[in-house]
Each structure stands twice: as structure tokens, then as C-alpha cells.
Symmetry: C2
Subunit: 126 residues, 2 copies
DNA sequence: CGCCTTCGCTTACCATTGGTAAGTAGGCAC
DNA sequence: GTGCCTACTTACCAATGGTAAGCGAAGGCG
């Protein structure tokens, strides 16, 4: 079941590496939260997003949004007015990822207590 | 629908903050990859895990595993022999998270090409 | 005219995080 | 005694992220 590519490398391993790499870039805290917020709000401006994503710095917000835009997850629309007006919404790809990640949010909400209990137990060990 | 707690804070907001916090700790690159590897392999020793999780440093592996153990996601079993023998496997909680995150792996595998295309398009803009 | 405000950034500086590589424990084979 | 085994620590350095300040261009205000 291990196909070999023309260059001699293992295709399955290469694919796995690529997917793992992709997960590495996408599975980060801020990306997931921005994805969730935008998924629920539809369209938001930069500052509104900044308030909705509690705790994010402007720097990380711009950085995260740029990365998401580059990955085709969000669309950035600039309205050329003064003061500037820029808004963000998810692409179909972004919605897809949001839906895929939805299960994790549900899991987190459902098992919050268990995790807190596990932590307390762990912290009280000899 | 916004219940108010005895201390006056908004319960929905507090819950949301807690869940967001939890996502922040759990939605990190290495945790997700370790979760996946352990989910597929069942039980692995420290060094085997280190080889399976390509690119992780020993330091981050110990750190990630400790955190996951604290959160009740993995069980760490020490066999008191020399040289040391320690193995790791997922708890039910860990399997649950792995299953919840499974959708994201599938999404990543399915949309890899679209993302790469989006990146190329982005990188070639004026 | 000059000054302040607004919004979406960008930048300089510093703290925290993560990678690299070397060390440690402790028994067992040589 | 020397070296090897594994699962870590640790010291040191590079990269990442937070904080806070600045910027640019138009419009309102005195």
C-alpha cells in the first residue's frame, strides 16, 4: 500500500507530511478563534474583530488575518474611504474549516469539567 | 437568554471565555499531532513518539506530554526498570478530542490543493 | 490655519516561548 | 573502569508574541 513516487520518495509519507504541516499552520489558537467569531458574525471590521476576539493584540490580529487571507480562509475588503474601512468575512473554504473545527468546540464545552478535575488531581499529586 | 450569575457577571460570556481558554491550550500544533499519532498507534514509548511526531524536539515532547497528562488526555505509565521504560496512551477524554479533531484532519487532506492555490495567488499579487 | 479625531495598520522594544545540544541517573555488558 | 541504554533536564540562543507608540490622510472645530 505504499506507492512510490517518480523521485523515489514515499507518497503516503509525503502527503502525511504536507497535511501535518498544514495542520501546524492552521491549528493555532488565534486562527481558530477568529474563524469561530467570523463564522458567527458573518462580516466584521478590523476593530470589531479585535473586540470580539478577546485578548488578541492588534499585531497578532493583523498577522492572523493576513495569514488566513493568504490561505484563502477569509476575504479582506477595503472600502477606500477616510478613515479607512476594512471588513473581513469567511470564504467557503473558511466556513468548511469552521465546520470541521466545530466538533472541537463542542468537545471543549462538553468536557470542560472533566479537564478541570483532571488538572486539580494532577496538581495535587506527590 | 443572558443569565446573570450571583456575582453579576454574564454566565454565557464566562462560559465562552472558559471554553475559549481551553481551546487556546488544546489547539496547538504539537498537541494535535501527538493526539493523532497516539490515537493511531495506541501505545508508544517516549522515543517512539519522538520519531513518529516528526520535527518535535525532546523538550517540546516532554512538555506537550506533561500538559496533556495534566489535562487528562494521556496516561503516562512508568515501568521501573533500567534503562527507563515509559509509555503513553490516550485516555477516553483524549480519544474524544482526537475524534472531534478528526474532521479537521479530513478537511486538511481534502482542501490542501485549494489552500496551496490560494497561497500562490496571494503571493503573486501586485 | 492648526490641532484633534478616526481606523487600520506598522514598528521598536522587551518578555516569553521554543530549538539545539549537552548533561544526568543508574544499572548492566564489556 | 568505560561505555551504553532511555527518558528526561538544563543552559544557551533564536524566534515568536505582547505593549505601546507612531503614521497617514481627510474632515471637524475653534
Amino acid at each position: 500500500m505504499t506507492a512510490i513516487a517518480p523521485d523515489g520518495s514515499n507518497v503516503d509519507l509525503r502527503l502525511e507530511a504536507l497535511v501535518t504541516d498544514l495542520i501546524g499552520r492552521v491549528a493555532d489558537k488565534w486562527t481558530m478563534i477568529v474563524l469561530d467569531v467570523l463564522g458567527e458574525a458573518g462580516t466584521l471590521r478590523f476593530t470589531a474583530l479585535g473586540h470580539a476576539v478577546r485578548g488578541i493584540s492588534q499585531k497578532m490580529l493583523t498577522q492572523t488575518l493576513r495569514q488566513m487571507e493568504r490561505d484563502g480562509l477569509v476575504i479582506r475588503t477595503i472600502h477606500p474611504v477616510i478613515p479607512p474601512h476594512v471588513d473581513y468575512c469567511l470564504t467557503a473554504l473558511g466556513h468548511g474549516l469552521g465546520d470541521a473545527f466545530c466538533g472541537v468546540w463542542e468537545w471543549a464545552a462538553d468536557h470542560r469539567d472533566e479537564i478541570e478535575a483532571a488538572r486539580r488531581a494532577f496538581d495535587q499529586r506527590p
